[in-house]
C-alpha cells in the first residue's frame, strides 16, 4: 500500500503494473495447471488481446480520442514478425518475388518482432502528423480510413503478403508463458507512459483541453509520443498473434477484430486496469456466446465471420456501457489508485474529521497530482 502511494511516480507506476500483472499471472497459471487445452487456448488469445487493448488504451484512454486504426498496426507487427521468422524454403515457395532481404532472412523471434514494431511505429509517426491534430469524430473517421488503407495494401501486395491469401508457416513461439512475459512488458511500458509527465499532459488534455493548453501543455507533442508508442504496443500484440495462429491473412485484421478490440477498450474504461477488465469480460462473454451459438469452438479470434448474434449482444453491451458508465467500468482510475483512495478514506474516517481546507492542503503536500479537488472534498465529507 505504501508503494501505491509512493512519492515518486515511477514507483507508483511499477508497483501498479506489478499488481495488475500478478492478477493476470495467477489466473493464467491456474488455467495452465487445471484447465483443458481449450481453456489454455482461450487464455492465450486473452493475453494477446490484452497486449493489443493495453496498447490501444495508451492512446485512446489517455487522450480520450477513439482510434479504429490500431488493428492496422497490429497487422503490420504480425506481418513484420511473420515475414522475418518464417523459414527461407517456405518463403521461396510462397513469396518468391519478395525482396531478397526478406526471403533470405531467417531471424529469431526478438529481432523479427522488433522489425515489426519499428515498421508500425514509423508508419504511425507518418500518419500521426495528421492524426494527432484531429479529435473526436474526425479522428475516428481518419483512423478508420487508415485501417482500410492497411487492409487494401496488404491484400493487394501479392509479392510480399500473398495478397488476400493466408501466409502460413510462421514458427509457433506463442504460448501462455511467452504471452505472460509480453503482457508484463506491455503493462510496465503502458503504465510508465501513463504516469510519466508526457502521459499526465495527455490526460490533462483529455479532461480539459483548453485548461491544459493554457497551462503550457504541448498537446500535439504528447499525443504524438503516445500515439507512436501505442502503435508499437499494438504491433507487439500483432507479432504475438502471428506466432499463435501460425497463418495470417489481411481479412483477419479488419473490421471484425477492430470491433472486438474497440469493445474491450470501451467497456473497461480509460486506464490499464480498465483494459484488463474489458478484455477479460469480453473474452468470457464472447466465448460463452460462441458456445451457446455453435455448440463448440475455440479461441476468441476466428477467421470466420461471426454469426450475427454475438455482434448484436456485444453492440448492446457497448450501448449499455454508454448509458450507464460512459467512461467505462473503471473510468479513469487504475485499480491501485482506487485501493489507495479506499485506504485513505478509511484512515480519514478513523481520525478526527479534518476541515475541507485542511484536506486540500494535505492532498497537495502528498503530491498526488491525479486527485481532483472534487474527490478530495467528497472524501473529507465522509462521516
Amino acid at each position: 500500500m505504501m508503494l501505491f502511494a509512493h512519492d515518486r511516480w515511477w514507483v507508483r507506476a511499477l508497483s501498479g503494473a506489478t499488481l495488475l500483472f500478478l492478477l493476470v499471472a495467477v489466473v493464467v497459471v491456474a488455467v495452465d495447471l487445471f484447465g483443458s487445452a481449450t481453456d489454455r487456448r482461450i487464455a492465450t488469445t486473452f493475453l494477446i488481446s490484452l497486449v493489443v487493448v493495453t496498447g490501444m488504451q495508451t492512446y485512446v484512454g489517455n487522450s480520450g480520442i477513439l482510434s479504429f486504426g490500431h488493428t492496422g498496426f497490429m497487422a503490420l507487427g504480425a506481418y513484420g514478425s511473420a515475414l522475418f521468422t518464417a523459414s527461407t524454403t517456405i518463403k521461396q515457395r510462397a513469396i518468391p518475388d519478395a525482396p531478397s532481404f526478406i526471403v533470405d532472412a531467417e531471424l529469431g523471434l526478438l529481432p523479427a518482432t522488433l522489425i515489426g514494431i519499428a515498421v508500425a511505429m514509423v508508419v504511425a509517426y507518418a500518419i500521426g502528423i495528421t492524426i494527432v491534430r484531429l479529435a473526436g469524430a474526425a479522428a475516428a473517421v481518419a483512423t478508420l480510413g487508415f485501417l482500410v488503407v492497411v487492409f487494401t495494401v496488404l491484400s493487394n501486395t501479392d509479392q510480399l503478403t500473398r495478397g488476400a491469401k493466408a501466409f502460413s508457416g510462421i514458427p509457433p513461439y506463442t504460448n501462455l508463458y511467452t504471452g505472460l512475459i509480453v503482457v508484463a512488458i506491455t503493462f510496465v511500458c503502458a503504465r510508465l507512459l501513463r504516469d510519466s509527465n508526457m502521459g499526465l499532459c495527455l490526460r490533462s488534455s483529455r479532461d480539459d483541453e483548453l485548461a491544459a493548453q493554457a497551462s503550457g501543455v504541448n498537446i500535439i507533442r504528447s499525443r504524438m509520443v503516445m500515439w507512436v508508442a501505442s502503435a508499437g504496443l499494438a504491433a507487439l500484440g500483432g507479432a504475438l498473434y502471428a506466432h499463435f495462429v501460425l497463418a495470417i491473412l489481411p481479412k483477419a485484421f479488419h473490421f471484425h477484430m477492430t470491433f472486438i478490440l474497440v469493445t474491450m477498450v470501451i467497456v473497461g474504461g480509460q486506464s490499464i486496469s480498465g483494459a484488463l477488465v474489458g478484455t477479460a469480460s469480453i473474452t468470457i462473454i464472447e466465448e460463452f456466446l460462441r458456445r451457446a451459438e455453435n455448440g463448440f469452438s475455440i479461441g476468441s479470434f476466428s477467421l470466420d465471420e461471426l454469426p450475427g448474434l454475438t455482434t448484436i449482444i456485444l453492440g448492446l453491451l457497448i450501448i449499455l456501457t454508454m448509458i450507464l458508465r460512459p467512461k467505462g467500468v473503471l473510468g479513469r482510475w487504475e485499480i491501485d489508485e482506487l485501493l489507495v483512495r479506499r485506504f485513505k478514506k478509511r484512515t480519514a474516517s478513523a481520525l478526527p474529521r479534518p476541515s475541507a481546507k485542511g484536506a486540500w492542503t494535505n492532498s497537495h503536500t502528498i503530491g498526488e497530482g491525479h486527485y481532483s479537488a472534487k474527490s478530495v472534498v467528497k472524501e473529507s465529507n465522509q462521516p
Binding site: V141, F146, V148, V149, F259, I319
Partner: protein
C-alpha cells in the same frame, strides 16, 4: 477528348451520390454532434426494402417512394430507440453508440436476409443511354446529378427560407439557446432525422442502381466515403460536405484514370492518403471553422 468528357460525367455521377450521403451525415452532425455510423445501414435498409417489395411485384414507380420512406422510417426509429437515450451526451459517447447501432443493424440484416448478396432487379430503362458524338451518356448519371442538385437547392431554400429551416440552423449553432427560444427540441431532432432519411433513401436508390446487389455490409463503403467527404469538407458544414464529396469523387476518378495497370487496386488507399494530407494542413476541414466547442470536444 471523349475520354475526358466521359470521365467528367462519371465524376459528376459519383460525386452526386457521395454528396447525398455526406449531406445526411453532416446534417445530423451539425445539430446533434453525432457522427452517425448507422447512416450506411439506412441505405442498406432501403436496398433491402427495394429487394423485398420488388419480390411482391410492386411496380418501380411505387418502389422509389417506398425506398425513401423506408429509410426515413428507419432513421426516425433509430433516433427514438437508440439516440434519444443518450441525448446531450459527450460526442465520443454518441460516436460509440452509433458505431454499436451500425453493427447491430448489420447483424440484424445478416440474421434476417443471410450473408449472401441479394440482386435487386432494376428495370431496363435504368441502363438507357444516348449518344452524343462518340460519347455514350447514361440517363441514370444525368438523373443522379440533376436530382442531387435539386436536393441541394431545395435544402438550401428550406434551411434559409422556412421557419423549420431557421429552427434547424439555429439548433446547429446553439441548441441550448434555441430551446430557450421556445423551439421544440424533439421536433427539431426528428425533423433532422427525417431529412437525413430522405437523403439516405435517395442515395441508396442511385447507389444500388449502379451496383444492384445488396448485402448486410453494403452500406459500409458508401458510408465511409460520405464520412471522408464530410471530414474533408469540415464537420458539420453542409456546403463543405457537398464540396468535399465532389472533391473526393474528383480525386477518385483522377487517380483511377492516371494509375496504370496493376496499381488501380490501390485507388482507395491513395485517395485516403491524399485526404489525410489535406487534413494535415486543415485539421478542421476545408470549410470547418474551429469553434471553442470543437477545441474542447
Amino acid at each position: 477528348m471523349n475520354e475526358v468528357v466521359q470521365q467528367i460525367i462519371n465524376f459528376l455521377s459519383i460525386g452526386s451520390i457521395y454528396a447525398l450521403i455526406a449531406l445526411g451525415v453532416a446534417l445530423i452532425f451539425s445539430i446533434l454532434k453525432l457522427i452517425n455510423f448507422a447512416h450506411g445501414e439506412l441505405m442498406t435498409f432501403a436496398g433491402y426494402a427495394m429487394f423485398f417489395f420488388h419480390g411482391f411485384g410492386v411496380p418501380w414507380l411505387l418502389l422509389v417512394p417506398i425506398a425513401i420512406l423506408s429509410s426515413v422510417v428507419a432513421a426516425v426509429l433509430l433516433e427514438r430507440v437508440a439516440y434519444r437515450l443518450l441525448r446531450g451526451a459527450q460526442p465520443l459517447t454518441l460516436l460509440l453508440t452509433s458505431f454499436a447501432v451500425s453493427l447491430i443493424l448489420q447483424s440484424g440484416f445478416l440474421l434476417a436476409f443471410g450473408a449472401r448478396p441479394k440482386a435487386i432487379e432494376f428495370p431496363i430503362w435504368v441502363d438507357a443511354f444516348f449518344i452524343v458524338g462518340d460519347i455514350r451518356i447514361q440517363w441514370l448519371d444525368i438523373v443522379t446529378f440533376c436530382v442531387t442538385m435539386l436536393i441541394v437547392l431545395t435544402l438550401t431554400v428550406f434551411l434559409r427560407r422556412s421557419i423549420t429551416g431557421l429552427a434547424l440552423r439555429s439548433a446547429a449553432s446553439d441548441f441550448n439557446t434555441t430551446k430557450l427560444m421556445g423551439i421544440h427540441a424533439n421536433r427539431v431532432i426528428v425533423g433532422t432525422f427525417v431529412v437525413a432519411g430522405v437523403l439516405a433513401g435517395l442515395a441508396a436508390l442511385f447507389y444500388f442502381a449502379s451496383t444492384p446487389v445488396v448485402a448486410p455490409k453494403s452500406g459500409f463503403e458508401p458510408m465511409l466515403k460520405g464520412f471522408i467527404a464530410t471530414v474533408i469538407g469540415g464537420m458539420g458544414s453542409l456546403v463543405g460536405a457537398v464540396i468535399g464529396a465532389f472533391l473526393l469523387a474528383a480525386l477518385e476518378v483522377f487517380v483511377e484514370v492516371t494509375l496504370v495497370g496493376s496499381l488501380d487496386v490501390y485507388v482507395d488507399a491513395i485517395v485516403f492518403g491524399i485526404a489525410v494530407l489535406i487534413l494535415r494542413f486543415r485539421p478542421a476541414g476545408l470549410f470547418g471553422l474551429r469553434r471553442i466547442e470543437d477545441v474542447r470536444a
